[in-house]
Subunit: 676 residues, 2 copies
Amino acid sequence: TQTPGRLKLGAATIGPGWTKVSCPCCVSERVEPLVLVKLGEKVRPETKRWLIRVIGTPQKEGGAALLAHPGEDASGDIIVLSAPRCTLLKATEELGLCKTYHNEEMEAFSYNDRDNFKNADNMEVFLTLAERQHIVKYELDGLRAQRDLRVPGLADNYTLQHRDNIWQKLGEAGVIVDTLPLHNPDQLKDLSEAWYSGNQLAQPLDSVNGYFGSSVAFYFSFLDFYTWSLLPPAILGLSITYFSGRCMNESVSGSLVTSDEDSGLAVSGQMVQAVFSMLWSTVVMELWKRRSSSLSYRWGTMHLAERFAEPRPGFHGDLGVNPVTGRVEPLFSEWQRDLRMALVSVPVVGLFLGLVILGMLCFYWGEAQVQQLHRDWDSLLSQTLLYMPSVLHIAYTNVLGTVYRTVARSLTEYENHREESSFENHLTAKVLVFTFFNCFAVLFHIAFYKQDVPLLRKRLASLLIVTQLLNQVTEVVIPFLVDRFISAPNRTESEDDPQEDKFRNQSNLPVFPGLFAEYIELLVQFGYLSLFSCVFPLTAVLLLLNNLTEIRTDAYKICNLFRKPFSPPRGQHVAFEILSFVSVVSNCWLLLLSPWLQKVCQEGGLSGTNLLLLAVLVEHVLIFVKVVLTVLIPDEPGWIRKKREHIEFTSMQALREQVNPSTTRFTDTKIQLYLC
Amino acid sequence: TQTPGRLKLGAATIGPGWTKVSCPCCVSERVEPLVLVKLGEKVRPETKRWLIRVIGTPQKEGGAALLAHPGEDASGDIIVLSAPRCTLLKATEELGLCKTYHNEEMEAFSYNDRDNFKNADNMEVFLTLAERQHIVKYELDGLRAQRDLRVPGLADNYTLQHRDNIWQKLGEAGVIVDTLPLHNPDQLKDLSEAWYSGNQLAQPLDSVNGYFGSSVAFYFSFLDFYTWSLLPPAILGLSITYFSGRCMNESVSGSLVTSDEDSGLAVSGQMVQAVFSMLWSTVVMELWKRRSSSLSYRWGTMHLAERFAEPRPGFHGDLGVNPVTGRVEPLFSEWQRDLRMALVSVPVVGLFLGLVILGMLCFYWGEAQVQQLHRDWDSLLSQTLLYMPSVLHIAYTNVLGTVYRTVARSLTEYENHREESSFENHLTAKVLVFTFFNCFAVLFHIAFYKQDVPLLRKRLASLLIVTQLLNQVTEVVIPFLVDRFISAPNRTESEDDPQEDKFRNQSNLPVFPGLFAEYIELLVQFGYLSLFSCVFPLTAVLLLLNNLTEIRTDAYKICNLFRKPFSPPRGQHVAFEILSFVSVVSNCWLLLLSPWLQKVCQEGGLSGTNLLLLAVLVEHVLIFVKVVLTVLIPDEPGWIRKKREHIEFTSMQALREQVNPSTTRFTDTKIQLYLC
């Protein structure tokens, strides 16, 4: 039957049938569906009823204090979740989110002081959609068995142990198949119009933060910031190319006498470009830190609570008492993990780095063979064969990269890290080392061993163009085609469908692959630019063009082609600082190789040794300047620092007053000290 | 009259007359005199009575909750202070000190849970003497006027404003001349016997921490650790000197054919020394971080509370509302400070660096002149004159150093930093830059510009010996003589003297100058060793000898020649990491300069350019290795990390339970979840 609320897509209920709230202040007419839980097909109704009961139980009795709706068919395989006001507000304090105080300042939210925060009565304004959905997930992940218990409807020998994570265990048992945040079609439509449909230059970052959460918003902010910061090097690169191009034309057309001076102009352009890009990379990274701390303040994620992390789902080990928390949980000793890293991970990663070098050697060998063949035979076939080594090498590199990513994940899994953060750090380190090697080994080889600047330039240009095109195709065009021609026909949707089916459709979309690969891609870009741009000044221009489309395709992708991801509130994030120091070494060397410089020096009577000495000196001075710049530019703007200190001060002050009123000695009691 | 307690020197009361404690649990028979307050000569008795009253008032009424004794003569110019149990325990929690729990683990102390901590009933065991004295100082510094008030006995127009720091204001008004912690002669005697009287190798660091506090104990621990870590380079240096010396003797006495090989041996020894000292410096710094974190755990300073710092005494500015705390206090804008730094501090520091260079130039010029003169005249007078430039230069350097230290302090004062920590950082930075320049400029000039290794060796040896001797003389011998022959006669002391006079005598000792200069001295040492030791392998031996005496003289100095300093609890402290990276550059260069290497290369057909390339490569590889070492060696041992996390976890858990019992969802309430 058609329920009255069904057509209200924005924040519609899917009919009556929500569990009751336990506290009077949380009663509201409309309940907004936030999260969809998909159950296994064989889950029995009593299990579903039990689960809904647990979800609705107050926290102090071991539940999640959320609202649940069993769907129109009570025995169906979905549960729709929402959160009442009190749960949302308490979690806001627990997470350490900052919100606007009545005096328009941002303050760490405090449940006891909730009436002094703006909009604290209207959850849909007070918290963003992403925050509300994250809180639901946070409450579900926090569900723990209060004692050993049996789950009704499951096999008799299946019991949850005391303090087991209920959501995780039920997931492993196949009761819960999926937990996904729901899209809000109206908001999504507004967002996509403001984001990628038109020709707008600025991204609606606040709306992105509201809808997708701060992790996603930080990625797009970085992309945005980075793209705009490409403008100066792009303009510089364009003008250098223009002037040196004009000089060459002139020298070709007319007087050959000035050719020396002209190429001098070109190379001094190259030098300007090198020094500029070395300092640019440091300044951009520092400015991004400042920008990201402002964003963090703006989005209220400046003062996130740190808590002792629970073990990640895949973590296993012998049961024991955790020395930190005193709780019984699986333990895995540090030295065993170190042993696994030293004896398994390091050799395997080394092997893959070796495979990269092997591929490079094979490529050079193949190219030599093919050219020999071409010289000997000189036919159309041999002409075609000339392209074979390059094509094979690119294919090899890509396959190796894909295989490696899987291997790196298994290796890190095998290392058995306890915390999610440690797992991610080790995975990132592994992927970074390999990607760096895989992308830059050939370029470094050409630059430092072959010392062949024209080849480097050619290679860089082709790499930039081919890789960017490939990326866009694999990331967007293929998912788009798959979605349009394979998935969409199975997912016909009309206005009249029950709300529930629309929810179910969302769970059929592929899972969002995360932003890790996107960041790695940007890192590689940044590497090309800061390490080698002085030999190919148009790098920044190409990257700028690529990123302007990348913003739109990424936005389209996350809005349409994948499930909405959960996105925990995030503070600032790291910048690519190491690369920026390696770039100094690389740029100094590349400058040294420029034939013009060598010639000028020979003419000027500067020996090769002295030139080298000069380069070493310049390198050290530039590194020094970069270190000084890094120290001198504060990581957060002064006003943000003051705001942050204010938030820290007030929340610490509030805490101390609550805990121990006697230690606050600045009370306003009018005690006479003037006694004698 | 002779009071019964007078002869109990250890923890003697100075008779009855202590102010009464306000809570029953703090009543004890013996009261230990901890801190002496010296009043101005003209302070009137009513002011003294008022002050004693304020000191004894409970904290929530705006007092310091301490015990005060007016001395035997109630109108005398001293007040002796002690602290009751409750004040000590509450401050222990406020400071965030860790103490032994009943299960022998270290835990952050919590006043509410005090009965579960070992020895919490006996303050003289529970807290160290240094901690008790620091707490008295901490309470005094925390005294603030609760409202505008007049101090009796002072001029009528002298009023304390609301929230004025009472202790600071009374100090400025001349009421309080001095606040000093008192020595405990028995403990001091035991300590000095265990520390420097005998021939013991190990220092009694725990007793030092107990008596002088963790700042002082950390200094001596570092000195200790650093001295022992000099052993490997000293042994290496000795054997290199021995072997190369033997070779030289052989080659002098007999076959001159092998001299090439021998000098090759010497230089390869030099190479070993260089590579060793580069890696050694990184490893030592990393190990020190681990050691200092263990010490920090052992001494309970691992989890010190951070609090928003009050403005330092000298800070001034227009009154305004602090944006962080919302309190009315002097404000001084950031840009004004930056302006002062940029327009005053930087040029003045630059000027002094210029004066260093000027001195160096004058020295070279003078030396050239004198040698010319000597060649022309060749008399006894001209012979003596030969030493003049060196003597003048050393005198100039020392005078410049002394003047600079005063100037740096005034400059930093002029920059008007709000927090003590920021003041200290800026002062340290100024002094470090100059000291580095003043000590190393000549050496760098000889090494890199003159490229004269023998001169460098000679200069380094003389510098090491002369500087060390000079330091020991100025730091210990002179204060000792002054103490013995000028101060001591005015301070005749006998067993029969009233306790009060002994206390007064302590206030006549000079103020302890702090450990800043000592650290700077160690830094310079470390610089000599890591930057230049490869040309003079005996550096480590000389430093080792120096430090073995330095430990004893420093210990003697702090025990006998100066007042006992207050010493706030301190966590870990920074290491000299930048130097260790500069050392790579310096060592690679010095190796490159060695004549043998140059010769071998010429013979081996390696061009100068390629040799230079090799050196650059080695430099970059070594820096890379050092970075990897820094990352791989964890900054704290695994077991310390677990303990620290445990302390953080339990104190955070305790806090959350106190503040908001509903957010702790792991309570043991036996609620049935198995409902349906």
